[in-house]
């Protein structure tokens, strides 16, 4: 038990990987509409924290390609490259709901 606690503490103190920082920083911009860390304060908004990575990637690409109808996300998604979408999706998928 003690060992487990030490492991957790070590992980918490570990430097954040550059890849995670990219996802975190990109994701922070989404918070104005989807809530801090993707946890929306209202049920009317889509809470994206903890959604599966593959699902998020597909939605963003479908928005970007006009395959999924949208009021705003089709215009936002066009601003992102495939690697950026993947970094975003990976970061949101790793957040607790």
């Amino acid at each position: 038990m003690k060992a487990l606690i030490f492991t957790a503490a070590a992980l918490a103190a570990a430097p954040v990987a550059a890849q995670d920082l990219q996802g975190r920083n990109l994701a922070a911009a989404c918070a104005i509409c989807h809530g801090t860390e993707g946890r929306a304060p209202s049920r009317d908004l889509v809470p994206i924290a903890g959604m599966p990575r593959d699902y998020l990637v597909k939605q963003m690409i479908d928005f970007r390609d006009g395959k999924r109808p949208a009021t705003v996300m089709h215009q936002i998604a066009k601003g992102y490259t495939d690697p950026q979408i993947d970094a975003l999706a990976a970061w949101f998928a790793a957040q607790k709901r």
């Binding site: 430097p15 550059a18 920082l21 990219q22 975190r24 920083n25 990109l26 922070a28 911009a29 989404c30 918070a31 104005i32 509409c33 989807h34 809530g35 801090t36 929306a40 304060p41 209202s42 009317d44 908004l45 009021t71 705003v72 215009q75 936002i76 066009k78 601003g79 992102y80 950026q84």
Partner: protein
Amino acid sequence: MKRRDFIKLAGAVSLAGCASSVPSKARVVVVGGGFGGATAAKYIRLWAPSLDVVLVERESSFTSCPISNLVLAGYSSMQEISHGYDALRRHGVQVVRDEAVAIDAAKKTVRLGRGGDIAYERLIVSPGIDFNFGEIQGYESAMNAGRVLHAWQAGAQTVALRQQLEQMRDGGVYVLSIPLAPYRCPPGPYERASMVAAYFKQAKPRSKVLVLDANPDVTSKAGLFKAAWKDLYSGILEYRGSSKAIGVDAATMTVKLEVEDVKGDVLNVVPPHRAGNIAMQAGLITTNNRWCDVDWRTMESKKVPGIHVLGDATLSAPGMPKSGSMANNHAKIAAAAITAALGGRGAGPEPKIINTCYSFVSQKEAIRVSSVHEWDAGQGTLIAVKGSGGVSAARSEAEGTYAWNWARTIWADSLA
């Protein structure tokens, strides 16, 4: 994270007993608790809980400019657009209610209005706007007499303008004067004109809204605003471009333009603005005596190292509006850069941020504009990503619902 030098707290009366207990922490001081400053304080604590964050704000609560135009129409209330700072305290932000009156960039201290200096490792200045009253002759005395209002900083003037609209006789004229761009919230004046027109249509149908725009045409969402005005407020709302106010006369309730004088019953004249006063005092202004140029990768001042400037006070990047969404995003760029620097890491990846602004055109219907901005090394600034962004297909009640959701979410993201 490497151990920091002990931070000098001598004279910081307001902080005595709270901040000095952990002297080994690096301290970030944030001046101004609006969309920029509040978000920066919160996100620095989220991303680097080991840092000491002090927010200096002169008001006891935040009053949102977004949605404040609905207060003018009676569709929202001051209570609804006001938010306290207690939630930031729960994030570990020390909120000091005082005014930052001077900054010493060499000593790295902020002087407080009630006395005392706070030392900082990094400083964030998010001062919003102040006005160049002198550009409109007679403005300050007319404003001080309550005869002309801007209500372009939500608060007491929002309440006063609502009262004037309520007291105005049916058949009266409300005059809204808009300064030349750049100004805070490009679509804001046109939303305001729409909201006042909606109120008149319902409560004082013989009254008029007269928009005097210094700009040649509507500066944001022009097609959508003009369609709404034609469909909903024909005979109530009149728009005149290239109509710059150069003076006001409180005695005759007149706005003086370059070529003619216009009389009204309620005069809502928004003067040209500039970065807030503390930015001027601290020597952060770089451009036209008005705005603060920054390195968009970090939000650090191009003039004073160690000081990051956020929000409406910045010299806007090309195509970037002065908006709450942008100030909130500026804060996250600064938070990423500062937590990286104080944590001994290199700068993070280059920033990419999103703007989204909703405007109401009637009680329930809204329109929207969005854009995505990214770092362009060649131009050395943030630019709108080609092919991204745009406006609503049409005004709708669905966009109105999204507008409220946006407001509640950004308030929470910034302050809760």
